[in-house]
């Protein structure tokens, strides 16, 4: 079946511009996550959505970052007034649920969006 998709695959933007990154999760997955991965670094958690619950925004690095999830499916990560340090690969993942110890928590990742801020 279809996996997690992300668009665009690459985005080059000028410092100070706003960007929107899109994620389409696997159909039927209730949980959606955004991560950031800088070159040679591990995954940095940004935000996650679970069904209709309030999202966990604890990983967002600044108020320039925000995310929405419409209709419990597609999500958009928005970065306002981009800075050079925002350059990274932004990864989206989805899972069937987030209940601890329950099956189906494993996350399935999209291919990522490589963001370059010049």
């Amino acid at each position: 079946g279809a996996g997690v998709s992300q668009s665009p695959s690459n985005k080059v933007t000028e410092k100070g511009k706003d960007v929107e990154l899109r994620c389409d999760p696997i159909s039927g997955h209730t949980a959606l996550y955004w991560y950031r991965q800088s070159l040679g670094q591990g995954l940095e958690f940004l935000i996650y959505f679970q069904g209709n619950s309030a999202p966990d925004k604890s990983g967002l690095p600044s108020d320039r970052f925000s995310a929405e999830r419409t209709g419990g499916s597609v999500s958009t990560l928005t970065i306002q007034r981009t800075q050079q340090e925002d350059s990274a690969v932004y990864l989206c993942a989805s899972s069937r649920n987030t209940n601890p110890g329950h099956k189906g928590f494993e996350q399935y990742f999209g291919p990522g969006t490589r963001l370059t801020v010049t």
């Binding site: 997690v4 991560y35 670094q41 591990g42 995954l43 958690f45 966990d56 604890s58 990864l91 993942a93 987030t98 601890p100 110890g101 928590f105 494993e106 996350q107 399935y108 990742f109 999209g110 291919p111 990522g112």
Partner: protein, 112 residues
């Protein structure tokens, strides 16, 4: 401090030379440990979930094990196509919230 540490950072093996990757964690309230494989330019690919000490999972040349403080990913007779970065992640309960931390990964290179 809650932490996940992977070692070594990089590992070079000859084809057929078995070895192990380590993922140690210092969290309490473990709710699951996950192994992923990541190829260059791609998102991580799920491999295994382990939930309790003593649990083992196998897939082809890979075997994951879990103790109360660490997990090992054993690679038996690796092939060049096993070259990738291997990530582990730990799910735990803290302060009333479920949290997930990824390690920095081990870059594995298998040479013919």
């Amino acid at each position: 401090e809650d932490q996940v540490t992977q070692s070594p950072e990089a590992l070079r093996l000859q084809e057929g030379e078995s070895s192990s990757l380590n993922c140690s964690y210092t969290v309490s309230g473990l709710r699951g440990l996950f192994w992923y494989r990541q190829d260059p330019g791609k998102g991580p690919e799920f491999l295994f979930t382990l939930y309790s000490a003593g649990e083992e999972k196998e897939k082809e040349r890979l075997k994951a094990t879990l103790t109360k403080k660490e997990s090992f990913l054993h690679i038996t007779a690796p092939k060049p196509e096993d070259s990738a970065t291997y990530l582990c992640a730990v799910r735990y309960f803290s302060g009333g919230y479920n949290k997930l931390i990824f390690g920095a990964g081990t870059r594995l290179a298998v040479h013919p």
